[in-house]
Amino acid sequence: MRRMFWVLAVLLSHWRRHPMQLATLLIGLVSATALWSGVQALNQQARISYDRAAATFGGVRTAMLVGRGGPTFPQKFFVDVRRAGWPVSPVLEGRIQIEGRSFRLLGIEPVTLPAEVGNAPAIGRGDVEAFITPPGQTLLAPETLSDLHLAEGATPLVSSGASLPPLHVQAQLVPDVMVVDIGIAQKLLNRPEQISRLLIGKTKGPREPLEKIAGDRLRLVEPDAESDLERLTDSFHLNLTAFGLLSFVVGLFIVNSAIGLAFEQRLAVLRTLRACGVSAVMLNAVLVAELVSLALVAGLIGLVCGYFIAAALLPDVAASLRGLYGAQIPGELTLRIEWWIAGVAISVLGALVAAATSLAKAIRLPVLATAQPQAWQQAQHRWLMLQSALALGVFVVAALLLRYGDSLLAGFAVLAALLLGAALILPAMLELVLHLGQRFAQRPLATWFWADSRQQLSGLSLALMALLLALAVNVGVGTMVETFSRTFVSWLDGRLAADVYINASDNAQAIAIKNWLRERAEVQAILPGARAETQLDGAPIEILGLTDHSTYREHWPLLQSVPDAWTRLRPGDAGFVSEQLALRLKLAIGDHIELPAPGGNWPLEVIGIYADYGNPKGQVAVNIAALIRHFPSIPQTRLGLRVDRNQIPGLVSALQEKFGLDGRNVADQATMKAESLQIFNRTFAVTAALNAFTLGVAGVALLTSLLTLGNSRLPQLAPLWAIGITRRRLAAIELTRTLSVALITALFALPLGLLVAWCLIAIVNVKAFGWRLPFDIFPLQLLELLGVAMLAALVAALLPVARLARMQPASLVKVFADER
């Protein structure tokens, strides 16, 4: 043990003398761990929230009974089912408004609430008496309490004029949910003796058949292993994970080059140690121990950085998830112990992988230094051939995946294979270009320049591969986001065709508003809208009722349709389906679907397919009158208005004043668009941030590689200096060399990036979101990225080159003196 300590001390002394190298190694490990664990923290945070949501008093994790003919059913069924032996507990769900904000209200019955309902809510175990005895309690998440700027015990008024029971924080609850006793909920929601669903406990016992108890009024819904939210957001998290992984890999490139350098520099010391009687086994054990301890330190620092990255990105992630999927993620990061352990583990594992080649060399290290083979050219050639062969293999895998894969994961696998293959083949491409350069070079210095660049290839290639990956992904993601952005904006123009949107609080108010609007001269048209929800093929869908009006005819973003589609819509036997739904159910124009409706299935012919970006649910658009005929009880509270442009602000404020509507219930088109765009932008803010991080890490990788090379370059440069080339000239040559290989890499990255973009748009997007986008190329953006890449290379090359330019002649002389 003591001996081991002394060997470790000798090895560690190297870092004390080379702090820059240590810094590089740590930076690599820290950035790899930080980005990876940052992303993991975000994913974990989201998953915890989904669990909380899913577990909130029988989300999808619990089997339940629901009514067939509407959102609620009579409470008497609860008693009947219970008395037939079913261990059920009633829940009433609805929405309430407090100061214009809408919340989900859950009424529960804690005495019968099955103990196994969800893993989050602990209500029903503790203070049940306070919960059910007047005045009762309103349980809510701490985030919701602070959002409302209220203290515990407050009794806020809801829009109906009633007041909530005193607020009481329950940490396990999801935000924007309020939980009260079922009796209180029935009063607040004005649904006396009505319930939304019956949660079924796991207690066993004889149960009478459901049909015998409730006829066909109730339906059994089996629990889902995965919540809707999880399914919907899978793609988003996969996206994040892919980026985290990419950053991790790029970080490992840095680690690999730093460890490789340190190993080369310590080779003599390792031999000396062996000569002084350190056995090979011990030496390797100490090398691993050294690496693991460094990885532990870096892992911990990386975790702290990862925490901050996650905390910084969380608001955007939360906004994206809320905007895209309606998932509520609390704004405060909570980290589990598993996260810390996993982070440190990934750091150690990454370090070991990155050090694998060096460690393998150390294990086989002969005590006696044999003559260095100068046949670098053959070695490099072999290495290039091997890597290129590997690359071709990976490309074949990518092609097979593209041909036969059908999932989102396969899409990402295609991407990964493409990137990996390109990275592997990069050195061969560079070699080819440099070889051509050498062949066509006229002057001796130029010939040397090309030849020497070729020799440097193996040292630089890892960093260049990192640069290639980072650039290609940047190009890919940038192109996708830009494409999506343009498509989205023009789509918004079509979808938000009305000038003012109103959502009345109930049907009565909607009628009052309509009557009032008819008197207003500036209102050119009133376009009532309505929305029903039903299920199709096992998944929830929306049915949108459209007024037969030129506004829609002219603007609705139809992708395909039959001729005269809007007229065909009128009778109510045809409908448009959203692109996502069409894709999921493989629907084409002329196909028939049957929508479950209260009065029986509603057959529809598909006569159009329209874009519905950002909607996780499938949608069917039908004529509004037909919709109301089939779903008589849906609220008809949505109104769109065509208004004289100049009069919009006046009308909106008049509406707000007259009907007590706030910004959530009445909005003009511009505001709606701005809000939608904001959601959209935040969705990709995370992607952009991770993108930038990755590029930064690639820059660091390039810098460290160049620094590493800089030291070993001296023996090659010294002879040139000796034959009369100035240090400044040498520095300029070195800079040109770095920039030219970086440029070749960047130029190679552009088509690769476009390929990545195509994969993202044509495969990943379609699988993840269900929509296809036109594929556009944005040359300016490409140029910009090219500039960024060259700038990164310049910055990375500057430090070693400056060192060369200012190098004392003595150091160059020393090269000859030390030569043996």
């Binding site: 060997v7 000798v10 003398r17 003599a268 062996r274 000569a275 002084c276 009687g277 056995s279």
Partner: protein, 224 residues
Amino acid sequence: MAGNNNIVLSVRNLTKTYRTAGEQVNVLRGVNIDVAAGERVALSGESGSGKSTLLHLIAGLDAADGGEIRIGDALVTKLPDAGRAALRRIRIGLVFQQFNLVPSLDVEDNLAFQSRIAGRHDAAWQAELIDRLGLGALLKRYPEQLSGGQQQRVAIGRALAARPLLLLADEPTGNLDEATADDVLALTRDLVAHTGCGFLMVTHSTRLAATLDRQVTLHAGLVA
């Protein structure tokens, strides 16, 4: 030859063959050498005569093809790698032409590290070595700040710090000028006499070889 009890190194019928580029080179073809405690032996021979190979085999840095090497009571040729490493730690001091100091350790730590690894660190002996080698003023310097002669003195100190049975040196003065070489060798001779270990030095310099107790010459893989 002195009494067998005093023999610290005994080499019997040692053979070693290398294969390079399909060609078989018989570097050692049955070498016999003995070194007694306190005895200082020079090993010379022209380039390719196998003197360095012999030294490496004795140090256990390489494995012999045939024959026996005994250091004290240990049979080097029968030891596995770990055993040879232990032998190097405890019984052998090695000095190389390139000094092979650890660049990231200062003189004091370079001097001490073999004895520490061997678990035989002796502060008094180290102090004496520092004194005898005249390194007192250089303890906090790093190898790159030392002259060649100073570096080699540190290397000799390191090799002797664990009080080995046998000190092996491979052209220890090859990188030093003549005056410095004489100084370093004189110091080494004195230290060997003082510690009573055996000393085997590979050199191509007949002048330096002549300053030792006995000269052995290798020729074509055999003791001439």
